[in-house]
């Protein structure tokens, strides 16, 4: 079963044992995590990752390929089974990164209601693996994609391209 990757910006808000754990049941996500689940047209952007994670590095490189700086990337990985079992639907929607093939691994969770989104937040919170990559790892992954010809260096933001050359 594949995995789904959701990029987040506030990893610490997803941490178990944080301030919210003093007053919320352990399986319930704090409301603040909804900042990281911003929808558009009731769709939530996620990436499909192979069950052996063989495309994970490439997807991460693709995600950061449009960035102006690579300080950190936080994301959550969750087994697709949890999405299916909870009746949430996904639809393929091409990503918007500099890696054209990686864009085909982008999907949206669709037709979300507000309560669906809260349920999804709880699923991610209870079952997801929270991961942080810092700049050196992101640079390595991006370098791999550039060297493999998946991403054209000339298309990177100058600030990132400059770091890649160091």
């Amino acid at each position: 079963m594949p995995l789904l990757l959701r990029k987040i910006d506030h990893k610490v808000k997803w941490a178990k044992g944080g301030e919210a754990s003093k007053y919320l049941p352990p399986e319930q996500a704090p409301a603040d995590v909804l900042h990281d689940l911003k929808t558009e047209d009731n769709r939530l952007s996620v990436w499909q990752i192979e069950d052996d994670k063989s495309n994970l590095t490439r997807v991460i490189a693709a995600i950061v390929s449009t960035r102006e700086y690579l300080q950190k990337l936080d994301y959550i990985l969750i087994d697709f089974r949890h999405i299916q079992e909870n009746g949430l639907r996904v639809e393929r929607e091409s990503g918007d990164t500099l890696d054209k093939q990686a864009n085909s691994w982008h999907v949206d969770v669709i037709q979300l209601s507000a309560s669906d989104l809260a349920r999804l937040a709880n699923l991610l919170f209870a079952n997801g693996e929270r991961v942080r990559e810092l700049e050196p790892q992101l640079l390595n992954m991006l370098r791999q994609s550039v060297n493999a010809g998946h991403i054209h260096e000339a298309e990177l933001k100058p600030t990132v391209a400059q770091k890649l050359q160091v």
């Binding site: 990029k7 910006d9 506030h10 990893k11 610490v12 808000k13 997803w14 941490a15 178990k16 044992g17 944080g18 301030e19 950061v64 449009t66 960035r67 102006e68 700086y69 690579l70 300080q71 950190k72 990337l73 936080d74 929270r130 942080r132 810092l134 700049e135 050196p136």
Partner: protein, 266 residues
Amino acid sequence: MSTEARIIVTGGNDVSAWIPLTLSGEPRLTLPGVTQRGQNAITMGGGTSIEFTSGWTSLPLQVGGVSPEFAQHVSLAPANTCGPQTFSTNLSATTTFLVDTPNVVSWAVQTAVSNAATSSGRERVTNVELRVSSLFDTADLVEFEDGFENEFTHRVKQLVKTNGVSAVAEIAAVLFRSQIHSELVAQILLCLGRIEDDATYYARSAVLQCGLSSLSADVRDAAAVGIASMSDLNAIPSLERAVAREIIKDLKVDMQKALLELKRTA
């Protein structure tokens, strides 16, 4: 005649404090080997009159917690109110305040000397204060996203690059007031961590190290990431202490990762 300076006292296990300092009379600030990295003490002459004003709530307790030497030699007002407080004291004798973050002291003293030495120093600082104040006025309108600068972070960067350490000090003074939302503090710390500017390197690192002691997990997290971005090896002890006292497991792991990156740089 009084000369205003801003001094950071950093130390202890729990808190750090920014203390705007007014020295009445001729300031007698001496610091043996001030330019030497790793220097960790500040000495003030006996009889120096000091006035403290702080935006911190319950400042005296926090200062007392910061540095035992500080509490021993300075009489502090009781901490029975919240919000900005002002109080004065006289040093009874030449006093050395120990600070456990290298470079912080030399930076603070350099700032003090710089402000005292130039007649326009106060004017310059006021100008920076105004710019920083106006900067924070616009912060509520901004949306932050990892990897992308916005108008606010562009302005922070420009302010620091144009005004140097004065701007960093002023931003920090506003930053650690309790009224500032922790998300905004975190974003500014991340921004300070990625500015490429040698002139403010140690000042920015000092502010990030202060952030490690914040009561807010968001701020502690951002401070650790910012420190990793700066690759300041002098910050390793601060980060090690932050890892040791962190109670949120996920955050502790992330701090350890930042620490590992920093040590790998070494």
